[in-house]
């Protein structure tokens, strides 16, 4: 027990004293690409670490609620994939994706009036990879991507990685504002900027919760065409509307000017990581080559599993049951907000996962987060959804994962947090200020 523990003298390479350079704990610091230098350790991200604990009601993450999935059926199906098509499922596949699955994807998209050919579809590792491919293929450093204000944090991350500049265009309760889009594109052209993409989430927006009205859709497309800018329609939630039939996609109005991104993550299960992009012929060829250089091919096993699921299970029934479940959660969220956040305003989503809450004047959602976490409720501060770190006066609530009862409890806690923060802000007369832009969203494995 009293074995001697002795230091072995200064560690190798340690300067004795007065040495010119210290250590930076990263041997490769001088080797990183320019774009890597902006990556930061974020205290906001660290605060989310408690959100998966059962004591905390997390209204922060975007994880779909999977408990309703028929796991018995799915496990039989998984076994069948291996016994019946194992050698194919475990083998490399086509870079463009499984042909049978691409045909089935057409069937799914027909619900949103999209008419395409299986050759127009490229299967990707989630629609997130489609975002990456599209940006890789179109965007040079310094190019502009126009996106809604706010916009999906994961897309902003991709645009940042390719060193694009994102210019935000406001949205209202009917989605992207066409006049503002037109003005922005005109101003950017006048300033000599190259605008490569208009990135939009027309249905049940993440994070804003709103949808682009049917009336605005052709106007947005007309403006984009007039300015010669390609539209990226990101639509993972399109089938998750709470009322009526799914809206026709923008792609259904224009098959040359729109890249359509779809996903099975929200309508079935994100763990398979299967999404897709529909693109005009010439673009699609380049996307396939880009995808092969990134990943060779999407997972054969996942594609066959989804293909079998679509062929043998009642996927429409599953989507319907998701819709009902999420509607119930949306209702719980909105009722609780009305009860507990008297001086805030919020959007009323008619589908999807999110509502976008505007805090009373002077409150800063980012500064307030530690208080919320102490009160055992989590949300994502609005700053995550802006390229420039603005948006602190908003926060995103996700109602996809917790039960309605937990949602009500979470919003009740949030109400107390907002009230306490407001009292403090009034006391000090401090307004919210700008924040540095950092990756401040929770990781994907957060409830």
């Amino acid at each position: 027990m009293s074995e001697q523990i002795v230091p072995h003298g200064p560690a190798a390479g340690t300067p004795s004293s007065g040495a010119a350079a210290g250590t930076r704990l990263d041997r490769w610091l001088g080797s990183y690409a320019q774009r890597t230098h902006g990556m930061r350790a974020s205290e906001i991200r660290a605060l989310f670490a408690v959100a998966n604990r059962p004591e905390v009601v997390s209204l922060a993450g975007g994880m779909p609620f999977l408990d309703g999935l028929p796991l018995d059926t799915l496990s039989e199906l998984a076994a069948r994939v291996v016994t019946e098509r194992g050698l194919q499922a475990l083998q490399y596949g086509s870079g463009q994706g499984d042909e049978r699955l691409r045909e089935q994807i057409l069937e799914v998209m027909r619900l949103q009036a999209i008419d395409a050919h299986p050759d127009d579809v490229v299967v990707t590792t989630g629609s997130q990879q489609a975002l990456d491919l599209v940006t890789r293929v179109f965007v040079d450093p310094g190019d502009v991507v126009v996106a809604e204000a706010p916009s999906y944090v994961g897309a902003l991350g991709v645009f940042r990685a390719y060193e694009a500049e994102v210019v935000h265009v406001p949205l209202d309760e009917h989605g992207l504002v066409p006049e503002a889009l037109d003005e922005t594109l005109t101003a950017l052209a006048a300033a000599g900027r190259r605008v490569k993409l208009i990135y939009t989430i027309p249905n049940f927006h993440n994070p804003a919760g709103v949808s682009l009205s049917l009336e605005r859709r052709p106007r947005v497309l007309e403006i984009a065409a007039r300015h010669g800018v390609l539209v990226v329609e990101d639509d993972p939630y399109g089938l998750l509307g709470f009322e009526g039939e799914p809206r026709p996609a923008m792609r259904s109005l224009d098959d040359e000017g729109v890249l359509y991104l779809g996903s099975f993550s929200k309508t079935f299960a994100p763990g398979y990581r299967v999404g897709w992009v529909v693109a005009p012929h010439a673009v699609r060829e380049k996307l396939v080559l880009a995808s092969e250089s990134a990943i060779l091919c999407p997972s054969s096993a996942s594609q066959i599993a989804i293909s079998t699921y679509l062929a043998t299970c009642d996927w429409r029934g599953q989507v319907k049951s998701y819709r009902e479940m999420y509607r119930e959660r949306r209702d719980a969220t909105l009722d609780a907000l009305a009860e507990h956040l008297p001086d805030s305003t919020w959007t009323v989503p008619d589908g999807g996962f999110y509502t976008w809450v505007r805090l009373p004047d002077g409150l800063d959602a980012k500064d307030m987060l530690p208080r919320a976490v102490t009160a055992r409720v989590a949300y994502v501060p609005g700053t995550a959804f802006y390229f420039d770190g603005s948006g602190a006066d908003h926060l995103r609530l996700s109602f996809c994962y917790p039960t309605p009862e937990r949602i009500r409890e979470g919003v009740r806690r949030l109400g107390a947090v907002v009230a306490a923060e407001r009292e403090l802000v009034e006391l000090f007369g401090a307004g919210s200020g700008p924040h540095a832009d950092r990756v401040e969203s929770p990781g994907p494995d957060l409830v």
Binding site: M1, G22, T23, A41, S42, A46, D367, E421, L424, L427
Partner: protein, 312 residues
């Protein structure tokens, strides 16, 4: 032949520093396993007490940053279960972890610490925010550092150079806790001095000097490469002895055990200012105690094992 001791490492907890604690805990557990010990890692939750009761580990090492960990609460429960601790006792931890309390105790013992005011948020309501803030600026001057009275990882810490930044800093700080510590900012060389006690009395490890391009904030701490460390610090032998002396003094005056880390600033005039002490110092890849230990020539597994064995 004796069987090797079984160690329960506690990490996580429901605190703002959960993530840092989990990383610290994993690093220590890994090092202890390398040294041949049997190690289990536990979160602070409803499973903890049953697990400790069933396991009866020879020793428990709490590496929980933030409240319930550094404030000694968990250590207290460990003691109530009749188990041994690596680290300070609960009462000592509670005093050390509360920054204004530790400052007051140490100031009386003759340790220099920046001039400060301790301000519960209710005080501002009672006395009026503007007049309190004005009084602070008049008395302490500028620049100031505003921080939660209890905290870590620089969470809620603001560096205030003009009076109009102060209200926002207070709001940010109070989001982390009900009591703020407002301190006069001191300039000089920032060093962290770790103290370990392997059974033969407390020993100061070489000071680690911290050089950042801006405040030593969350990013500067955990974004490897942002901060330049000098281990040992670029100090004259006299200066090195002075900072080591203060760290040992802090460890002694606060009655700390086994390990601690004092954050100090060496002023250009040679005065050492005490900023704060940590009874559960960070043990991550970018943390200061492990760097100090390596600078002293210790292998981390052997050092951590020695800390465990000294606690049996």
């Amino acid at each position: 032949m004796t069987t090797s001791p079984r160690v329960a490492v506690l990490a996580g907890g429901l605190t703002h520093e959960r993530d840092v604690s989990l990383r610290s805990g994993r690093r220590v557990a890994e090092a202890l396993r390398t040294s041949g010990l049997e190690v289990s890692v536990h979160d602070i939750d409803a499973d903890l007490i049953p697990a400790l009761v069933a396991l009866r580990p020879d020793v428990v090492w709490p590496i929980v940053h933030g409240p319930t960990g550094e404030d000694g609460a968990v250590s207290h429960v460990v003691e109530l279960l009749g188990l041994r601790l690596v680290g300070s006792g609960p009462h000592e931890a509670r005093v050390a972890w509360n920054k204004p309390v530790a400052k007051a105790v140490l100031e009386r013992a003759g340790v220099h610490t920046p001039a400060y005011a301790t301000l519960p948020h209710t005080l501002f309501r009672e006395l009026g925010a503007t007049s309190v803030l004005d009084a602070i600026v008049a008395r302490l001057g500028l620049p100031l550092v505003v921080k939660p009275s209890r905290g870590g990882s620089a969470l809620g810490v603001s560096w205030v150079t003009t009076a109009d930044e102060l209200p926002r800093a207070m709001v940010e700080c109070f989001a982390y806790g009900d009591i703020a510590l407002v301190e006069r900012a001191v300039t000089g060389t920032e060093v962290a001095v770790s103290v370990v006690d392997l059974g033969d009395g407390p020993l100061a490890l070489p000071a680690v000097e911290i050089v950042t391009d801006g405040p030593y904030d969350y990013d500067a701490r955990y974004n490897a490469g942002r901060t330049e460390y000098f281990a040992p610090a670029r100090l004259t032998p006299d200066e090195a002895a002075a900072v080591a002396g203060v760290a040992l003094r802090v460890h002694h005056e606060l009655g700390l055990s086994r390990l601690s880390r004092s954050d100090l600033i060496l002023r250009p005039d040679g005065v050492v200012e005490f900023i704060e002490v940590n009874v559960a110092p960070g043990m991550t890849e970018t943390s200061l105690l492990p760097q100090a230990a390596e600078a002293a020539g210790y292998e981390l597994p052997a050092l951590y094992r020695a800390l465990v064995e000294a606690s049996l």
